[in-house]
């Protein structure tokens, strides 16, 4: 059985402008949403605050729960029903941290009992202080940056045999980041600038494969963040884990296409580059779609059956796999073509 005929020859490269327009449009919408929401919506992991999950034995109106929390000073708490209807489970989030001292869960229990007449089961308490939130934010950004950087070293080394050059470049960037963070320059400022500088460096050093891969990865991350912002989903630690996995996964696809491009360039020097790239995409298309399909199958299983706690995590992964597959065909490969032409 096969979905994709082996002699398929779709003109991806010829339609790259449509792809660029599509990417540009999604990124733009995401950006507008981010600006309108004042940046990404940070969960308590990064913003600091308290999350509490309670379960009742019967249905309780949300207003009663809110009333109970107002009574103990959580006026601005957001109350949300989670899980299945039959489980009567609620999540309460507030930006107020450091409330979990002695007697905290008792006071919640008491307040909810007097407001609802039911004794709740406290299933989970998450409290993150502002300082910890700040540290976690910093680590998350550093993690994204470092994984991108290490991956570029690997790609430049493997595809263009420029281990030393890319190593030195990355080393310089890491040193700069280290000193800037020691000087307490804010991470959300440093990281985008560092990424921009990396791109410019790759351009000048002609590390074409690395640059194309990185642009595709940034493209994937920016779109995922944008979609999260449009849907008003929160960023938490697991979402960052999902983003990093997307980086690895999306690169999987990209590398397989690149590998084929390199192979075909070596074996067929006379044909124009655009044709070679297009042929490489088509040759690997069957594999690209199959792998994304099997990964999506399990992700959907997790999305529908895995429970509400990892719902957003799975959602980020699904978006990432779709965008990653798309970007390896419509973003990374055309950019290789453009950068090689620029030489």
């Amino acid at each position: 059985m096969q979905f994709i005929k082996h002699d398929i020859n779709l003109d991806f490269i010829g339609k790259r402008k449509i792809g660029f327009c599509f990417s540009f449009a999604i990124i733009l919408i995401g950006m507008i949403s981010l600006v309108m929401h004042n940046g990404p919506k940070l969960g308590i992991d990064f913003a600091g605050g308290t999350n509490i999950r309670v379960q009742f034995s019967k249905e309780i109106p949300i207003s009663k729960i809110r009333q109970g929390f107002t009574a103990i000073g959580f006026e601005k708490a957001s109350v949300q029903k989670v899980g299945k209807d039959s489980e009567h489970e609620f999540q309460i989030s507030t930006a107020k941290p450091e409330m979990t001292n002695k007697g905290f869960s008792q006071s919640i229990s008491d307040a909810l009992e007097s407001a609802t007449g039911e004794i709740p089961v406290i299933r989970q308490i998450d409290m993150v202080g502002p300082q910890v939130g700040k540290d976690l934010r910093k680590n998350a950004l550093l993690a994204i940056f470092y994984s991108l950087l290490f991956i570029t070293i690997y790609i430049s080394g493997r595809f263009e045999l420029k281990w030393i050059l890319s190593g030195i470049t990355a080393g310089a960037l890491m040193t700069a980041i280290y000193f800037l963070s020691a000087l307490n320059v804010s991470m959300p400022v440093i990281i985008p600038i560092a990424l921009l500088i990396s791109l410019i460096l790759f351009w000048f050093l002609k590390l074409n494969y690395a640059m194309s891969a990185i642009i595709a990865l940034i493209h994937d991350i920016v779109i995922t963040i944008g979609i999260f912002s449009i849907l008003d989903y929160e960023f938490s630690l697991p979402i960052i884990a999902a983003l990093l996995t997307i980086i690895g996964y999306s690169l999987n696809d990209t590398i397989i296409v690149f590998d084929r491009i390199r192979e075909n360039i070596a074996s067929d020097k006379n044909r124009p580059l655009s044709e070679i790239i297009n042929r490489s995409i088509n040759e690997t298309l069957s594999r690209t779609i199959l792998t994304s399909l099997t990964t999506l199958i399990v992700l959907f299983a997790l999305f529908f059956l895995g429970g509400e706690i990892i719902h957003n995590f799975t959602f980020a992964m699904i978006v990432g796999v779709l965008i990653g597959t798309y970007s390896s065909i419509f973003v990374a490969s055309p950019i290789i073509l453009m950068s090689k032409k620029g030489e």
């Binding site: 059985m1 096969q2 082996h6 999950r53 379960q55 941290p97 450091e98 001292n101 002695k102 869960s105 089961v121 406290i122 299933r123 989970q124 308490i125 998450d126 409290m127 993150v128 202080g129 300082q131 910890v132 976690l136 680590n139 993690a143 994984s147 290490f150 690997y154 790609i155 493997r158 630690l237 697991p238 960052i240 884990a241 996995t245 980086i247 690895g248 690169l251 999987n252 590398i255 397989i256 590998d259 594999r287 199959l290 792998t291 399909l293 099997t294 990964t295 199958i297 399990v298 992700l299 959907f300 299983a301 997790l302 529908f304 059956l305 895995g306 429970g307 706690i309 990892i310 992964m317």
Partner: protein, 524 residues
């Protein structure tokens, strides 16, 4: 069938994985540890405490001031005020050359941990400001954190939590993980209790109500409260006291603390002093007959009985409206010693046991469902070769499980997600190989040649693709914490397992099929 090195390797690795994995499902089979479940799966509490090290510095400064005063008195030197000022500095005002020179001699002789910040001449007087040297304060902070860690460890050990994890994080933070803790509230109260026990006299010459009105205690005094709870209404009344600042005796002289009961069956905590403490307690009670001695714990008065007689033997009791658990925890805290500085909870993640069980159940269901779909899909798409991929996939899960148990890595909910993700990605390597073999077959090669060159060409691609995911996983492990680390671990294990199963196991099966039969057509 030849027994090649490869076959031996495959069999050995699977045998090891199964040996490690089985106890998780059949704990009685052989005594090896099961897969460690993270707090999010088994329920428990994760706390990060911050030691308020500035407080430890403050305490040191206060003791130093006390020592300086004693030295000055012993040397017949006079001062016009010796106080701790903001920023933890010591300020002293001296008059006359004798006093100034004498003071400077004492400082350079006996207090070389202090350095002079400034000397300001004021007419005939001189104001000298001292502070702790940078190394000294760093050392005190470090010691305070280490001591807090030790104390908390002792308390948790006595509290009885199996396999707690307690370690210092950064410079002044302490990470505590208490898996399966039944009463997180109680554990938190016990851990966070400073347990500074002191014995101080009540100032009965001044009126506490006036002090409260003026919002200022008389010199040498401090206002403290006793909290009394009405058993019936649960209303708390606060009783104010004027307590003399001077600490007569503190908890460092305790040798034991345990729960006792008064004649009404009300729990109380009986304490015993060491010899020096007992002598001092006897002296204090002897010198202050008919006066009230306050027993102060963490700046709260527990009781302030009138001393009826000189008490020898070094025993005392702390009464208060204790529940049995309160009394037990207080005894543990006093036995384990006080924290050198108060601690503040700056991060808490508590998961109830029911939520953890739900997470495991749902994780396993999604793993089964996703797995079955993928297995069926591969079978339909690649026919018999799909069977090989499915075998590789199942081996993959066995290897990840065995790896988790062998390395005693922690399995978390995102970790389960990682395994599920691996199921999807594990077939990737096989897909790459199979697609290559199909291509080679189309170009007219024999099954054997197509298979060999398919594997050969796919190997490098598979390695490249997996190394990048591995890079992301390693960075994630480095920067992530808790549950996210669990994800990084299973993801990395999954990568290694899928490399092994795709490149070695699948290849071995193909070789086996092709070498035993004269295969004319590959079912792929």
């Amino acid at each position: 069938m030849k027994l090649t090195f490869r076959k031996v390797l495959i069999i050995t690795i699977f045998a090891i994985a199964i040996v490690y994995l089985l106890p998780t499902f059949y704990p009685d089979l052989w005594p090896y540890k099961t897969i460690k479940r993270g707090l999010d799966l088994q329920g428990g509490m994760h706390l990060v405490l911050e030691v308020q090290v500035e407080k430890a510095i403050e305490t040191t400064i206060d003791t130093t001031i006390h020592e300086i005063k004693n030295e000055l008195r012993d040397n017949n030197l006079k001062h016009l005020g010796l106080t701790r000022t903001t920023g933890n500095k010591i300020q002293i005002i001296l008059e006359g050359d004798d006093n100034i020179n004498g003071f400077n001699d004492i400082i350079s002789d006996k207090f070389n941990n202090l350095k002079v910040v400034s000397t300001t001449p004021l007419e005939k007087k001189s104001e000298i400001v001292l502070m702790l040297s940078a190394e000294e304060s760093k050392e005190i902070k470090k010691l305070a954190t280490e001591q807090a860690l030790e104390t908390i460890r002792n308390r948790i050990d006595e509290f009885g939590v199996s396999e707690p994890e307690i370690r210092i994080q950064g410079t002044q933070r302490i990470l505590i993980k208490l898996p399966g803790v039944q009463d997180p509230e109680r554990a938190k109260a016990l851990i966070g209790k400073t347990a500074q026990l002191t014995f101080q006299l009540v100032d009965e010459d001044n009126n506490v109500q006036i002090a409260i009105q003026k919002e200022r205690a008389p010199v040498g005094d401090v206002i403290m409260y006793e909290e009394r709870e009405d058993k019936a209404t649960k209303a708390i009344t606060k009783i104010p006291y004027l307590i003399k600042k001077r600490i007569l005796l503190d908890g460092s002289r305790l040798t034991d603390a345990r729960v006792e009961f008064d004649r009404f069956g009300q729990p109380q905590v009986g304490i015993a002093f060491d010899r020096k403490g007992a002598r001092r307690f006897e002296k204090i009670t002897g010198e202050n007959l008919k006066k009230r001695l306050a027993i102060v714990l963490d700046q709260k008065v527990y009781s302030a009985p009138v001393i009826q007689s000189r008490i020898s033997g070094g025993k005392a009791t702390i009464t208060g409206n204790f529940s049995l658990n309160d009394a037990r925890d207080l005894a543990i805290a006093l036995r384990a010693g006080s924290l050198p500085a108060p601690v503040k909870i700056i991060e808490e993640r508590t998961v109830g046991p029911t939520l953890g069980a739900d997470s495991i159940r749902m994780g396993l269901i999604s793993m089964m469902a996703g797995g079955i779909f993928v297995v069926l899909f591969m079978l339909i798409y690649y026919k018999k070769a799909g069977l090989i991929a499915d075998f590789a996939l199942i081996s993959n899960i066995i290897l990840i499980g065995g790896g988790l148990a062998a390395f005693q890595a922690t399995l978390t909910l995102p970790g389960i997600a990682g395994i599920i993700l691996t199921i999807g990605m594990a077939v990737d390597a096989n897909v790459i190989i199979f697609e290559r073999i199909r291509e080679e077959l189309r170009s007219g090669k024999t099954p054997m040649a197509a298979m060999n060159s398919g594997f050969e060409k796919a190997t490098l691609t598979i390695l490249d693709a997996n190394v990048t995911t591995l890079i992301a996983a390693i960075v994630l492990f480095q920067f992530g914490s808790g549950a996210v680390r669990g994800f990084a671990v299973t993801l990395s294990l999954g990568i290694f397992a899928s490399l092994f199963t795709a490149l070695i196991v699948s290849k071995a099966i193909f070789d086996f099929i092709l070498e035993n039969k004269k295969v004319i057509k590959l079912s792929i």
